[in-house]
């Protein structure tokens, strides 16, 4: 008996779906085209709000992650561990990397903190601070660096270094008063070099643990600028020349940026750690090397995006609710008649739910077309120029699918509740418009 009753319910539900679909198709087909266009437009805008707002907010930070990788770290970044001045066993590590099949390129860099004296001719007046600043000096192998970071693109003024010429440096724009975006902030402790530009002679002072400091005068060949701090706040010279300047451990490196397939980076990190054995070095994927506060910002942006999207979702749900409710209430009599002649309430509810889902699906499809066909490729080519990053649109398919699912669930409820409210009314009262 129970099985027969269950089978009967299943058969009734199937019939209700069949008739619900029949009615829904005709409701949509014969609905006022302007109303349909309006509702679909609202759903499209809701989809865009759901996907694009959070995508842009996350894209602001993700853009900086990508720039960090493309401009500085490569896919894997090797640096000294805390308290160490260099990467242990650097020559063997470089040789290992050069022979590793999945490694596409490496950029080994020497580095040291140096003092720069920006004014060589005039001595400072009494009580006047000298035109001096501390800066990280990085050595770059021009050809290898170009392969990983296309370093020459950062030269905003002057010229790029050449591998075979010495006595020249590139300085990050944020270290020069003339070019720095922080110049007008007058931040205590931040000493920017004054009157230093392309062609200026400056003095590099490299302290030694024992003995006199190493001093070398060089010419500024160019100014480099990037939204990545590691470019804009450093000074660069040809690596071979810097290695010679270093007082000790000349063969050991301070940074190695490695280019590989990003998906392979975690495996490469594991392989490198195995290779290094007891030799110490910090080996990280680009994502791991990103400062944690940026990760926190990304999370915050994601939450902010979700909050804004939620408001859009509520607005869309209310809109659908109103549309379906008005639609159903104006057809209350006909709903009563359908029930009166024996049509299952479920079929009528399904018709309205399908109508609502149709609006949501078409709106989402149009939204997806705009996002993936237009906005994402456009912003990839023309990133939004934010002061700290080039903002892109981050819209992963799985995230979009989840958001679309949420939109469909909200639409389902917004279609179901009003239709249920109407179909629950007394059949005869509905027929007689009482």
């Amino acid at each position: 008996m129970a099985i027969r009753s269950k089978n009967h319910r299943i058969a009734r539900t199937i019939l209700a779906f069949r008739l619900g679909l029949f009615l829904a198709v005709r409701q949509v087909r014969r609905a006022n085209p302007w109303t349909t266009a309006l509702v679909i437009s609202i759903m499209t805008l809701t989809f865009l709000n759901l996907v694009v707002v959070s995508g842009i907010l996350i894209g602001l930070i993700s853009g900086s992650f990508i720039q960090f990788r493309d401009s500085y770290s490569g896919d894997v970044l090797i640096t000294p561990t805390s308290g160490r001045d260099y990467i242990e066993n650097s020559p063997a590590l470089v040789a290992f990397l050069k022979g590793y099949p999945e490694v596409k390129a490496i950029a080994p860099r020497h580095g040291a903190m140096v003092q720069i004296l920006g004014t060589l001719n005039d001595l400072p007046e009494q009580n006047e601070r000298p035109n001096r600043s501390a800066i990280r000096l990085s050595g770059i192998d021009i050809a290898q660096e170009e392969e990983i970071t296309r370093f020459s693109r950062f030269v905003q003024y002057g010229e790029m270094l050449k591998q075979d010429e010495e006595g020249y440096v590139l300085i990050g724009a944020n270290m020069l008063k003339q070019y720095s975006s922080f110049a007008d902030a007058d931040i205590p402790g931040l000493d920017l070099l004054k009157d230093v530009g392309v062609g200026s002679r400056i003095r590099i002072i490299l302290a030694r643990k024992d003995g006199d400091p190493i001093v070398k005068e060089v010419t500024v060949k160019g100014i480099v600028k990037s939204k990545v701090d590691q470019i804009s706040t450093r000074m660069f010279m040809v690596d071979r020349e810097l290695a010679r300047l270093l007082p000790a451990n000349k063969e050991q490196l301070q940074e190695i940026a490695v280019k590989t397939d990003p998906a392979y980076a975690p495996e490469l990190v594991a392989q490198l750690k195995r290779f290094m054995g007891s030799n110490e070095a910090r080996i990280q994927t680009s994502a791991e090397a990103i400062p944690s506060f940026l990760r926190d910002i990304e999370t915050t942006m994601g939450m902010l995006g979700n909050a804004i999207s939620s408001i859009a979702l509520v607005v869309a749900s209310i809109t659908i609710f109103i549309v379906i409710f008005i639609n159903a209430i104006t057809r209350r009599k006909f709903i009563g008649i359908l029930k009166g002649i024996g049509v299952d309430s479920l079929a009528i509810e399904i018709a309205y739910v399908m109508q609502a889902l149709f609006y949501a699906l078409v709106g989402s499809a149009l939204g997806a077309l705009i996002v993936y066909g237009l906005l994402e490729p456009y912003l990839a080519k023309n990133p939004i120029d934010f002061p700290f990053s080039d903002g892109i649109l981050v819209v992963p398919w799985d995230g979009t699918a989840i958001r679309t699912g949420v939109l469909l669930i909200a639409t389902f409820l917004a279609g179901y509740i009003p239709s249920r409210l109407i179909t629950r009314q007394n059949t005869l009262d509905a027929i007689l418009n009482r």
């Binding site: 029949f22 006909f334 008649i337 024996g342 027929i431």
Partner: protein, 235 residues
């Protein structure tokens, strides 16, 4: 076929009670064409709704083929309305979004017929009421008489045991009303049981039997010699 047993219907509005039906009892046999007449407010439509399972009496019972349908649950009553009964309403009661053909098709699909069978039956029903050429018209493109014929086609497409008609000619002119009654007459001739509410005694005379209601009670149950529509039209 259908039996009403002491049906009472009371409408409540606040503290007030309106006794629309005061213990109505009668039996209608299979194939009968019965008219229910009475003045406005006499309870004739209310009685039709109780018989047609569109409403539930305050007390009393309705039996359909010896089954007490007033004791059944909502789903079973809905199934009986779908499979065994047909309805024609005063204001046609067609779904405006659907064509004539689709309006007739809807209950057939709900009954679980295949698409092919449902379509065939819908077309047959519409042809039977003379609308075989107007299948694709939505109600707004049909005259009042045509809409009522669609309503009749919807009511008879599944060969119901009883056809209920609630003042089917009230919104129609005389000629169109006679066309509708002629269809009822033809249906009756083919064995269809019909229970029709009308406020026109002349139209009631075209049926086999008239139940006269006054103030919620059957005051007269009159069988009369059948008068054809053609005779009525000619005076």
């Amino acid at each position: 076929m259908i039996r009403a047993d002491n049906i009472v219907k009371i409408f409540k509005s606040g503290d007030k009670e309106l006794r629309a039906l005061k213990g109505v009892s009668f039996t209608i046999g299979s194939g009968e064409f019965v008219s229910i007449i009475g003045r406005s407010g006499s309870g004739k439509s209310t009685l039709l709704y109780q018989l047609g399972l569109l409403d539930h009496p305050t007390s009393g019972k309705v039996f359909l083929d010896n089954t007490e349908v007033t004791a059944l649950g909502k789903a079973e009553r809905t199934a009986i309305r779908l499979n065994d009964l047909g309805y024609v309403f005063q204001d046609y009661a067609l779904v405006p979004d659907l064509t004539a053909f689709e309006n007739v098709l809807v209950p057939l699909l709900m009954q679980g017929l295949t698409n092919g069978d449902a379509k065939r039956k819908a077309v047959q029903a519409l042809e039977r009421v003379g609308l075989g050429e107007r299948l694709g018209n939505v109600p707004s493109k049909l005259s009042g008489g045509e809409q009522q014929r669609v309503s009749i086609a919807r009511a008879i497409a599944h060969d119901p045991k009883i056809l209920f008609a609630d003042e089917p000619t009230a919104n129609l002119d005389n000629d169109t009303s006679l066309t509708i009654l002629k269809i009822f007459e033809e249906l009756h001739r083919s064995g269809q049981t019909i229970i029709m509410v009308t406020h026109e005694p002349e139209y009631a005379k075209m049926s086999d039997r008239t139940l006269s209601l006054f103030d919620g009670e059957v005051v007269k149950d009159e069988k009369h010699a059948h008068k054809a529509v053609e005779q009525h039209a000619s005076g």
